[in-house]
Symmetry: C2
Amino acid sequence: MATAQKSITINGVAVNELFSTIEAVKTTPSIAKFKFRIRNQWEDGSRNHSTVTTLSGANQELTHPVPFRLEADEPAILLGKDMAANPVEHLLHALASCLTTSMVFHASARGIQIHAIESSFEGNLDLHGFLNLDPTVRKGYQGIQVNFKISADVPDDRLQEVVQLGTSNSPVFDSLTNGVPVTVKASRL
Amino acid sequence: MATAQKSITINGVAVNELFSTIEAVKTTPSIAKFKFRIRNQWEDGSRNHSTVTTLSGANQELTHPVPFRLEADEPAILLGKDMAANPVEHLLHALASCLTTSMVFHASARGIQIHAIESSFEGNLDLHGFLNLDPTVRKGYQGIQVNFKISADVPDDRLQEVVQLGTSNSPVFDSLTNGVPVTVKASRL
């Protein structure tokens, strides 16, 4: 959050602002409450898109400078036109981006210089679930395997600690591994 | 999966191919096993992107016609440059797109004509978690509220049933509400 201090940037993160945010939250706990939102519109078949326009946080309504448009489709083998990543691929991106950002922010706060992070994500899914062919097979991912490659100014024995800054702090990792309550309402359009 | 039959399309979904897929899975269960993958690369600060290139399914290695690039950033208030949706917004898109597609596919299989689907998603997150200021506050979403508006050729009392075709079959809804085991490995780049 905005401060008048000179910017001290580590790994592209303004750590002085990060520390100011922590102090601000201690003084005014309500600014820590955020709401993230999207709107989705079905197009046809397996195609739909979401628009990301506003959020609320720090006791303010906020608007992104431009609305972000996120597409979805399915590959031909899953009866789509393969014009965009599919929902379960988007889920992997949400996880990857959150683990990476959480790692970078928390490493920066500790003064750890990171040079590069690359990662690969693979999730296993058995269509017996989605197609209702076997009630013992879940609809969702049976497991996700993550592989990080990191270049950072830490000795070998502290590399796992850096990764753990991601897994132990990432909102998406927590949401996905521990589950989130989702309430769904519907009405006629 | 490819068939020689004439295409019967409902809501943009080739339902004859959907039924052929179900029959094919019954005959050869291994074709139901899919692996979805992304690769992610950190850029700077809160910016990173994923590339979606290949998947495996139906006992084949498959390649998307073009690699899909998915971006991530954070809004300025969360110390980013606000160039792309953030990870927890991407998570809402994964959920929205999957609920919508699952609803459309399963409604199509039942011959239910859908005219329009619009939805809004909102998730609550308290930064006391991410910032390690309160161990009783989780890092992830505390809850997600979903609101669907649907135009479909069903009587009012069957509208909730249509929505339930989404929630009871969606891989992302199952993954996110029930949790997924995620294993993380890391090595030096």
